[in-house]
């Protein structure tokens, strides 16, 4: 039996193979489908979640390796009905096109703002390695800057 802490909740999962990636436990077993499958080889970043606050490609780590640690998915980004500053900036700047990559982009951007509350363009370029085939990068950058500005002085992470 696998025990995971996902979005603050203790979850137990039975009968999965030891090599099952965290991605597929989230999607198929826990029905947390906000985390997306894109490439299966750690390239595209659509499957990005946080493990103890750090962004990881969930298609690349076995779920058992996350046992007993803190997993956060896009569904758990905001603890309440209130959206985070980044989620709100994503809406204000109308970032998505097809939207399929955007939960992964948000997870990466959230981690970026934790490390660099006021990121430079260079830091954004270095950190944001997720693929968006629709090419919404211009707006992702704007939204990150906007969220950083909105959060500045409030002392809270985005």
């Amino acid at each position: 039996m696998l025990r995971l802490n996902v979005n603050g909740q203790e979850r137990t999962i039975d009968g999965i193979a030891d090599d099952t990636p965290l991605l597929w436990v989230l999607r198929d077993e826990l029905k947390l489908v906000g985390t997306k499958f894109g490439c299966g080889v750690g390239q595209c970043g659509a499957c990005t979640v946080h493990l103890n606050g750090q962004p990881i490609r969930s298609c690349q780590i076995p779920a058992v390796a996350a046992a007993g640690q803190k997993v956060t998915t896009v569904e758990g980004l905001s603890a309440s009905a209130q959206l985070t500053a980044l989620q709100q900036a994503w809406i204000d700047h109308d970032v998505p096109q097809c939207g399929y990559c955007q939960s992964g982009q948000l997870m990466t951007a959230t981690a970026l703002l934790k490390q660099h509350p006021k990121p430079t363009d260079a830091q954004i370029d270095q950190f944001m390695t997720n693929i968006c085939r629709c090419g919404t990068y211009v707006r992702i950058r704007k939204a990150i800057h906007a969220a950083a500005a909105a959060t500045a002085g409030k002392g809270g992470a985005a």
Partner: protein, 767 residues
């Protein structure tokens, strides 16, 4: 479509079924819309109640006991107003990232005069009897629905006004509407749409939707403003919107492993071993139902299907699968062979099929020293981020599917044939599409799911492609070649042009490969006195399909690059050179009428782009400009790239200035987003290729097909002319001019003419 519309490339190159949908003249498409379908047919108050219920959901529950029953007002298939004031608008076409769900909502809400805050937009059901053609392709959703959606909104508004007039005993002409209210200014009375819903539902619908007065453009409150996408909250909170997100009780998961060389069959496979693997419930050989001539459209390719209790169980089992492929029927295509053969063919002045001749081009070529350019462009993949998938549930006498398709109507007969059912026993739920780019105009993945579902009856099954399946079995953007010879007169004006395209055809049927064709009216056919366009074709088995602005995206690159070569050879300014050619027909096109290439609109956007980009003015050190114009999908678009190139041939695109004449813009935010995306996609595609050897693609995941990421995304300045022509969609037409604009700027910066794509072949990279 009319000859005028045929003047751009893509209408020659669409897949046959898609062409059939496009073939309805624009006027007929508008006429078929409202009066016969989404409005009148479903209306009629009480009499229409049942149909209404089927079309737009069950009526709201009667209100508290004793009170008269409150019913929603749903005059047709597009608008539904609940007594509590909630307004639901139905978007009929698939949302693939082009923003149609938001744009359709804005158009409906504008004529309805609804407050945007009251509005929810939902994907409609797929039902041709109600909605007519439903598809996302050709940037046609806006132009073919502009009239009927405005009429649907205006008709509902007229009925709400009539209901208020009746209630208050005043003339309709004394009433106005605003923000989901009917207002009688003279008496200061105001009634919300919700409060009028029950009364309006009892009224007859307007007899002639075309007679409804639509708003003047100056009175628009919503159209042309900025709206964030209607699904954005759901997207940023991870709500299930996509087919891949569908979870049903008892659902199984499946994969269909196909031969890497397209068309190969299974000779044998270790099926019994696979069946014993953990989590696997079934495995079987699929003979395939597709006809070899057009494998992608007609059904399921041969392979091995594996069914199991989770995606990972199935994907893991694939790794244990051993297939002995029979390659006798498989593609043997080789890109390196094509490159050699095309070059041999290109020396001939004309190809096997001449599509247009004007004057005597051979005579002109013999007596002049032409400017020559031979261009080559690679196959590319759609690489949309959501891999192909469909959930299918075969119930013996019917089948239900959840699919990310751009062309749902075509999947219905396809699935019916596979399941041995009549088409009306197929129900397809249109899901949000995780990237389209034309790939999902083909429904092969829906067919895969339907086939596997018939083998596990009464169980929902999610059919998943891996990324490798997706890139290996794409319907690629076809590669190709173009040999140009252009003749300049003594004044340096373009006098004559010979264009010999080397494209592809199906080896059996000899049908042109999708997007591998040359339109008879392709620019500048109608602008020169001596001209010839011709095509030679090589046999190709690799499946190709529509890819964002099919035909146009490569035609633009060869044509607009060569026009720059001509301008350079003539020692003339590129802007002035292009303007002079279009100027030869200036004023010749009607101001309204068929949406073909209009030289005045072309001149307008070229001038606008030049002005906004600072053409001819000083630039930052090392920066250079490149221009391109292309007409496609009813959009006239000029783009100017500002680039610098470093010593290692690394190209940085600092800015792209884009001038668009697409008629009135519906959602300014969405429109700019599409243009920004087109520019980034064009930059990405400049440096990418799919090569195939022995019938198999050599790049099957993002590691070998590195789609563009965040760094160095350029500033994209978008300028809209906002003309009064019929509006068009913007998912495609901003794509074609971007690549030639960048390549022309690279020439300005380096003196190197890029005649081969990807640009990495000439040692360049895009920063």
């Amino acid at each position: 479509m009319s000859a005028v519309i045929n003047s751009n490339a893509e209408h020659h190159t669409m897949i046959a079924e898609f062409e059939r949908l496009l073939a309805q003249p624009m006027e007929a498409a508008a006429a078929q819309s409202l009066s016969r379908r989404g409005f009148m047919k479903l209306s009629g108050g009480v009499g229409g109640g049942l149909v209404l219920a089927l079309a737009v959901g069950l009526p709201d529950q009667a209100s508290a006991q004793g009170a008269p029953p409150q019913v929603p007002f749903a005059p047709g298939a597009y608008v539904r107003i609940s007594p509590d004031g909630k307004i639901t608008l139905y978007s009929k076409n698939p949302e693939i990232g082009q923003g149609i769900k938001t744009a359709f909502g804005v158009i409906l809400a504008e004529e309805l005069d609804a407050a945007w805050a009251d509005v929810t937009v939902e994907q409609s059901e797929i039902n041709a009897a109600v909605y007519g053609a439903q598809f996302a392709g050709g940037s046609l959703s806006i132009p073919t629905n502009w009239d009927n959606l405005r009429q649907a909104g205006a008709g509902a508004r007229a009925m709400l006004v009539a209901a208020a007039a009746k209630q208050w005993g005043v003339a309709e002409s004394e009433l106005t509407t605003a923000d989901s209210n009917v207002i009688h200014a003279a008496s200061g009375r105001k009634a919300s749409y919700g409060s009028l819903a029950t009364a309006a539902a009892a009224l007859p619908v307007p007899a002639d939707p075309k007679a409804l007065k639509l708003k003047d453009r100056k009175d628009y409150k919503l159209i042309g403003k900025r709206f964030t996408g209607v699904d954005n909250v759901s997207l940023v909170t991870g709500k299930p919107l996509f087919a891949i997100d569908v979870n049903l009780p008892g659902m199984l998961y499946a994969s269909l492993v196909k031969c890497p060389s397209v068309g190969g069959k299974v000779a044998s496979a270790n099926i019994d071993e696979i069946k014993k693997l953990p989590g696997i419930t079934d495995a079987f050989i699929v003979e395939g139902t597709a006809k070899p001539a057009n494998v992608m459209m007609t059904g399921v390719l041969p392979g091995v299907a594996i069914v199991g209790k989770s995606t990972w169980a199935v994907f893991s089992a694939r790794k244990q699968l051993k297939v002995n492929w029979d390659h006798s029927t498989a593609s043997k295509d080789s890109w390196s062979d094509y490159v050699v053969k095309a070059k041999e063919l290109a020396v001939k002045p004309a190809g096997d099929k001449v599509v247009k001749t004007v004057g005597d081009i051979d005579k002109v070529l013999a007596s002049a020293k032409p400017v020559e350019g031979y261009y080559q462009f690679a196959f590319v993949s759609h690489a949309q981020l959501e891999p192909q998938n469909t959930v299918a549930w075969f119930k013996g006498d019917s089948i239900e599917l959840w699919a990310p398709t751009q062309l749902p109507a075509n999947s219905l007969p396809l699935v019916a044939g596979i399941a041995g059912l009549k088409a009306d026993k197929v129900t397809l739920h249109q899901m949000r599409v995780g990237g389209g780019f034309g790939r999902r105009l083909l429904n092969d993945f829906v067919a895969d799911a339907a086939y596997v579902a018939t083998k596990v009856p009464n169980t929902p099954v999610k059919l998943m492609w891996t990324r490798e399946d997706d890139m290996q079995h794409d319907a690629y953007r076809v590669g190709g070649f173009m040999a140009y010879k252009g003749v300049l007169d003594e004044q340096g004006k373009l006098a004559a042009l010979n264009a010999h395209m080397i494209g592809f055809e199906d080896p059996v049927s000899k049908a042109p490969t999708t997007a591998s064709d040359f339109g008879a009216n392709e620019f500048p056919a109608n602008y020169l006195t001596d001209y010839r366009a011709s095509i030679s074709r090589l046999p190709l088995s690799m499946p190709c399909g529509p890819w964002r602005a099919p035909g146009s995206n490569t035609m633009s690159w060869v044509q607009q690059s060569f026009f720059h070569e001509l301008a350079v050879a003539a020692k003339r300014d590129h802007v002035e050179f292009l303007l002079e050619v279009f100027g030869r027909k200036a004023g010749a096109a009607p101001q309204a009428g068929p949406p073909g290439l209009n030289p005045d609109r072309a001149i307008g956007v070229i001038k606008l782009a030049a002005e906004k980009a600072g053409w001819g003015k000083p630039l930052p050190k090392g920066h250079h400009l490149g221009l391109a114009f292309f007409f496609s999908h009813q959009g006239h678009i000029a783009e100017i790239a500002e680039v610098s190139v470093d010593a290692k041939k690394k190209v940085t695109v600092h800015k792209m200035t884009v001038a668009c004449d697409i008629g009135p813009v519906i959602n300014l935010s969405g429109a700019e987003n599409q243009v920004q995306g087109c520019v980034v996609d064009a930059m990405s595609t400049l440096a990418l290729e799919i090569t195939m050897e022995n019938g198999a693609a050599q790049q099957v995941n993002y590691d070998k097909y590195p789609a563009r990421r965040m760094p160095n995304s350029p500033q994209v300045d978008v300028h809209f002319v906002q003309s009064n022509y019929n509006p068009t969609g913007l998912g495609e037409p901003a794509f074609p001019p971007a690549a030639p604009a960048i390549c022309n700027a690279i020439f300005a910066a380096t003196g190197t003419r890029i005649r081969t794509l990807p640009i990495t072949k000439a040692g360049f990279s895009v920063a």
